[in-house]
């Protein structure tokens, strides 16, 4: 079973509500979910959709072909009808779409009429739609009440009850309608799965890493991280401060970091651009900092609610002057949790800046996971809380063998913590001489880089050992590459190599991954951008020149079928 549901309509019609309630009910039913969102930069009107792929096995990408289309307006039908599979179904209420459809693949359900009958608001038609979809799929409404309660907690029992009543009507209507077996689920395992999107994953990762301070300026598609942590702020004693601009955001976070807490900031490309100088400050002052950059298509304002991997080289090289930096590019929410944790650990351990680069696709995509343990998480307090021992004064930038100096917290001891954006001596005071400069560059940059490189995990290899085709990528293309490998494994020797820790660029330790790349008959660099930034990075680091690539830069993620088409075409060339 592998069903794709697309819910389309105008902004403000509540399709995000429908989508996320459905996704949650599915995951609670033990079904695997992959969802993604496609929305415009407006609050009402226009055209948005929410797409859920639900299956009885793990799914990692979205499809182009739809099984069920829920159309909240006529435009949705116009735009998406061509993507409906044979024997799929379009659910709609002609009172909402303003158009009658009597073709075989249409199912008209009088959602609005139901709300009128029940004497509830028009908005509750959404509950009817949820019920209707569950009905088509042959799923029951058992989990509806608790789920809807989670979503509408603050609206009281009455609202929940009305929603349930309306959902029931929708369910009855569609359930009875004799849908093809191919749309039906019979969930064997009702052990619920974890459902989490990329933004929540970064937020959760920060929470379980002891992050105590987030300063940020709202910016789509990063705001979800801020919202997640703001919701936890009181319970876990975290300051979530909306700054007046992104420059303030990063400088506040640096202040908090200096003050002795784990701090982060979140933004998208344009806001990150404003943080460039602050990032360089963090480098000079050796202040631990985690930044989540959730990409959207640029340049400038670009397509504010859409996706792209267009900022790789910008972020990697960002900040004037030279200082070490770590860049992670998780491909899944699962990776996002563990890499965010690793980010906080490395940031504090080495007193460096770690950037987690995500994108709108990953940020808004929900994945399901089986229960996991906390064994993959780390928490070490690397701060130095001891008092000055004997005569020797504390020196914030003491020249140590590995370049890492003790990190004291102001006010928690009599040690004085002095940091400076100018070049400085061991104590942190301004200097200009050549010798000290050389020592400090060696300490903070040249000595730390190899240590950081040691910490970097190699890319993940998956698939055939001696592949004809090797898909190479980073970040949010993980899912699509994985699906392609699974899909084509029977036909061709195929594999993927996915980098989620891209800087310092991993070195071949456990296995020589670049040998694997060279071994492949055709190595293809897969990127959600126009210029092939990751391919350039690989060449800069390894000399390897990709002869083939799959790129996309229209603000949309890769979808399975067209992606397979491109892979096929490349296979034809081998």
């Amino acid at each position: 079973m592998d069903i794709t549901i697309r819910i389309g309509g105008e902004a403000g019609q509540g399709l995000q509500f429908i989508g996320s309630v459905l996704a949650r009910i599915f995951s609670r039913n033990g079904l695997h979910v992959f969802s993604h969102q496609d929305y415009m930069s407006r609050i009402r009107g226009g055209h948005n959709f929410y797409q859920i792929r639900v299956a009885d096995h793990p799914v990692r990408a979205s499809k182009n072909r739809i099984d069920i289309l829920l159309a909240l307006d006529e435009n949705t039908i116009l735009v998406h009808r061509d993507n409906l599979r044979a024997a799929g179904v379009i659910i709609h209420d002609s009172a909402m779409t303003g158009q009658e459809h009597d073709e075989a693949d249409f199912l008209h359900i009088p959602f609005l009429e139901m709300t009128e009958k029940a004497g509830v608001t028009r908005q509750m038609a959404n509950a009817a739609a949820i019920g209707a979809i569950l009905g088509v799929l042959g799923l029951d409404l058992d989990l509806f009440p608790e789920t809807i309660r989670d979503f509408l907690a603050n609206q009281g029992n009455e609202v929940v009850a009305s929603n349930l009543a309306i959902a029931q009507m929708g369910w009855e209507y569609s359930h009875s309608n004799g849908w093809p077996e191919s749309l039906k689920f019979s969930p064997a395992n009702r052990k619920g799965l974890m459902l989490i999107n990329g933004n929540q994953a970064v937020g959760f990762g920060a929470l379980v890493s002891g992050c105590r301070f987030l300063s940020a300026y709202p910016m789509t598609p990063s705001t979800g991280i801020m919202i997640y942590l703001a919701g936890k702020a009181e319970e876990y004693k975290i300051i979530v401060e909306q700054a007046e601009d992104e420059i303030a955001a990063i400088n506040m976070a640096l202040g908090a970091s200096f003050g002795g807490v784990r701090a982060m900031t979140t933004t998208s490309g344009g806001g990150f651009a404003l943080m460039a100088e602050g990032l360089s400050l963090a480098g000079m002052a050796e202040l631990p900092l985690v930044i989540a950059e959730v990409q959207r298509p640029g340049p400038a304002t670009g397509l504010p609610t859409r996706t792209e991997q267009g900022d790789l080289l910008f972020v990697l090289h960002c900040g004037h002057g030279e200082f070490p930096k770590v860049l992670f590019t998780p491909g899944t929410p699962g990776q996002a949790i563990s890499l965010t944790n690793k980010a906080f650990e490395l940031a504090e351990k080495y007193q460096v800046q770690v950037i987690i680069q995500s994108d709108q696709f990953l940020a808004d995509s929900e994945w399901t996971y089986e229960e996991t343990h906390d064994c993959f998480l780390n928490y070490n307090d690397y701060r130095d809380r001891s008092e000055n021992s004997g005569e020797e004064e504390y020196k914030r930038f003491a020249l140590t063998e590995n370049g890492v100096s003790p990190l004291a917290v102001p006010g928690l001891s009599t040690r004085l913590v002095v940091v400076d954006s100018d070049e400085h001596d061991e104590e942190g005071h301004i200097i200009e001489d050549s010798e000290t400069r050389n020592k400090m560059v060696a300490k903070r940059l040249l000595r730390k880089m190899p240590l950081l490189q040691e910490e970097i995990a190699p890319p993940e290899y998956y698939g055939h050992d001696n592949p004809t085709l090797l898909l190479v990528g980073y970040g949010s293309t993980y899912g699509i590459m994985h699906e392609a490998v699974d899909e084509l494994a029977d036909e061709v020797n195929i594999a993927l190599l996915h980098f989620s820790e891209v800087w310092p660029f991993p070195v071949a330790k456990d296995y020589d991954f670049m040998a694997a790349v060279s071994r492949a008959e055709l190595a293809v660099c897969v990127e959600n951008n126009a210029t092939g930034q990751f391919a350039r990075l690989i060449r800069a680091e390894t000399g390897f020149l990709f002869k083939a690539s799959i790129r996309k830069y229209d603000g949309r993620p890769f979808l399975l079928e067209p992606f397979l088409g491109e892979v096929d075409e490349l296979l034809g060339q081998v």
Binding site: E277, V409, G411, L416
Partner: protein, 286 residues
Amino acid sequence: MSFLDKFKGQKPAWCPGCGNFAILNVLKRLFTEMELDPSEITIVSGIGQGAKTPHYTKCNTFNGLHGRTLPVATGIALANNKTHVIAIAGDGDCYGEGGNHLLHAMRRNINITLFVHNNQVYGLTKGQASPTSMPSLQSKTQPFGNPSEPLNPLALAIAMNCSFVARAFAGASGLPQLQELMKKALEHKGFAMIDILQNCVTFNKINTFHWYKERTYRLEENYDPGDRISAFSRSLEWGDKIPLGLFYKNERPVMEDNYPMLKEGCLAAMEFDQKEVFHREMVKFF
């Protein structure tokens, strides 16, 4: 141990005769009189001549970027309330590059004491007009003088309802008052700003030490800093007569009081239990 020992820092790189020396001295004297330990003080500064101050005394120091003093100070104050957080900035730093942060720090009314070393010029970069420069200040980049109206920091602060707004003068005649105001500012709950008139002997040949000395006078003994309108009106006095003192003060709530997570004290000192948080929150995704 005299205050000169306890708070002795690096050797200042200022020009002889620079008004910054006097401010530095007052600061050290005040710290001593308040019986503060260097570790109880954090000075945040930006880039400029005045901004070098923390290096010349002894304290926790975050000497950050040009213009970004206040956000850094805000982050420190929120994360760690164990020290007095003092922000030291130049007029270019605070009213030019960092103008936006000033507005919003005032709105936040967070526990920070701001000293602006206002020499009405960009000192460190060699004499360009600053936001407070007089129209007649000519420079190599302003050959026609400063084409913009000088910014009035006090009027601005009062308009922003800043909870403590004062002006002082770093000349001998003004130093006792400067120290007194600094003390009040440090004791004030909320965001306190003192605009300190400071002469730059090298680049500001208009607003010299004598220029200030001749014009400045203390606000009357019976002046009421609680009256916002009259504070505004007095803040507009500039020219032949320049008032010094505490112009405006209010007791509105400080930001820290609006945040429930700060009720239990210093974030930097709190313990963290990863396992507990993980298990408590993980389940919410199911």
